[in-house]
């Protein structure tokens, strides 16, 4: 077996050719591994952070939910108040106040006229029956009623001199005419 011995000093010996691609590929593989590891690490950190933020937000939401639940009675109260307010408003608006008509009739009375019966029915209809001395007296009473009650529709149905008369007042509500007691 033949053996080749290089007797030249080390600095003069021929150097092996540098292999460029294996080095480049090794560097690329290493960079690839580092990039993958860093990206994975970053994702893990992001997951931890997101989870922690979510937990913190969730506890904030839970606390808000408790506050809302505790304050929900206010909403119920507001609804109940509105319901009752509406009901009262409707009932009162649609109702008729009667004692002011008696007051207005008192003030409208003139000598020679006497009321014998009075009937107030729903819808604001007031029927008056009474006695009069003359037709003139009852017609003056009609005008007096118009002045004191401020009603537009007052009908006289019958009148007998020195006898009875019948008058109807319509659309009385009793909530607009000023009382003068």
């Amino acid at each position: 077996m033949q053996m080749q011995v290089n007797l030249l000093p080390a600095q003069y010996r021929p150097k092996p050719a540098v292999r460029f691609w294996p080095i480049l590929l090794t560097i690329i593989f290493m960079l690839n591994s580092i990039a993958l590891s860093l990206y994975w690490l970053r994702l893990q950190v992001e997951i931890t952070r997101a989870q922690s933020s979510l937990n913190s937000l969730q506890s904030e939401v839970n606390s808000l939910q408790r506050s809302v639940d505790e304050a929900e009675w206010k909403s119920q109260l507001a609804a109940d108040v509105q319901k009752k307010r509406d009901f009262l408003g409707t009932e009162v608006t649609e109702s008729v106040l009667w004692h002011p008509i008696l007051n207005a009739i008192e003030r409208a009375m003139i000598p020679g006229v006497t009321i014998t019966n009075l009937n107030c029915a729903s819808g604001g209809v007031v029927s008056l029956g009474g006695n009069t001395e003359t037709i003139r007296t009852v017609s003056e009473f009609l005008g007096s009623l118009q002045t004191k009650t401020e009603l537009e529709v007052i009908r006289i149905h019958s009148a007998v001199p020195e006898g009875g008369f019948q008058i109807t007042l319509k659309d009385w509500s009793g909530r607009v005419v000023d009382e003068d007691e």
Partner: protein, 191 residues
């Protein structure tokens, strides 16, 4: 393996690295990305929930509860939760006595629905002078409870008679109104 050339060995290494990359993506990075995406989505949902809760709390805090409660207390006098029918009947009798009005028949109908509440219709016969009957009607109409007179009539001269039809309201007329009675051995005999 030793029979492979250096070139082939490097190709194998490249292939292996590509496979490793794919495996890392498939089993490690992709699920982690999904987790991040899911967490972000949930965060956004919870944040929306927080915003709506904050808005609701703001609305609730803006409600002036003491003022509303005060208004409710006033309205509860007009339309009470309980009917207080026993108390109301006593009130009619006491008012009539105070004004010198002679109380006749009181008819009470069955409670009926009036919106979200109940109403109770009364028909009342009374006798007295004009001034007494006028005062009675006025007292009735000025009652702190919502008492609506639907119709009434007056007739007579000195001694007049009247009948009044009116309605009161409550949330419930069938509540328990206890009264402590002394009792009697013979209910058909008044001692």
């Amino acid at each position: 393996m030793s029979k492979l050339s250096t070139h082939q060995k490097w190709l194998l290494v490249i292939l292996a690295v590509i496979l490793i990359n794919f495996a890392v993506w498939y089993f490690g990075l992709s699920p982690a990305l999904e987790k991040v995406k899911a967490a972000r989505k949930e965060f956004s949902t919870v944040e929306q929930q927080k915003i709506s809760l904050q808005k609701r709390l703001g609305e609730l805090n803006a409600i002036d509860a003491p003022v509303l409660q005060q208004e409710m207390d006033l309205m509860n006098v007009q339309v009470p939760e309980l009917g207080y029918l026993r108390e109301f009947l006593v009130y009619i009798e006491e008012t009539a006595a105070k004004l010198g009005v002679e109380l006749g028949n009181i008819s009470i109908a069955e409670p009926r629905e009036a919106g979200s509440y109940l109403s109770l219709d009364f028909s009342l016969s009374i006798n007295g002078t004009y001034a007494q009957l006028y005062s009675f009607l006025k007292t009735f109409e000025q009652n702190e409870r919502l008492l609506l007179v639907h119709s009434f009539n007056l007739s007579g001269e000195e001694k007049m008679s009247s009948s009044i039809q009116f309605t009161i309201y409550a949330e419930d007329f069938d509540q328990y109104t206890p009264h402590k009675a002394p009792g009697r051995e013979n209910p058909f005999k008044d001692y």
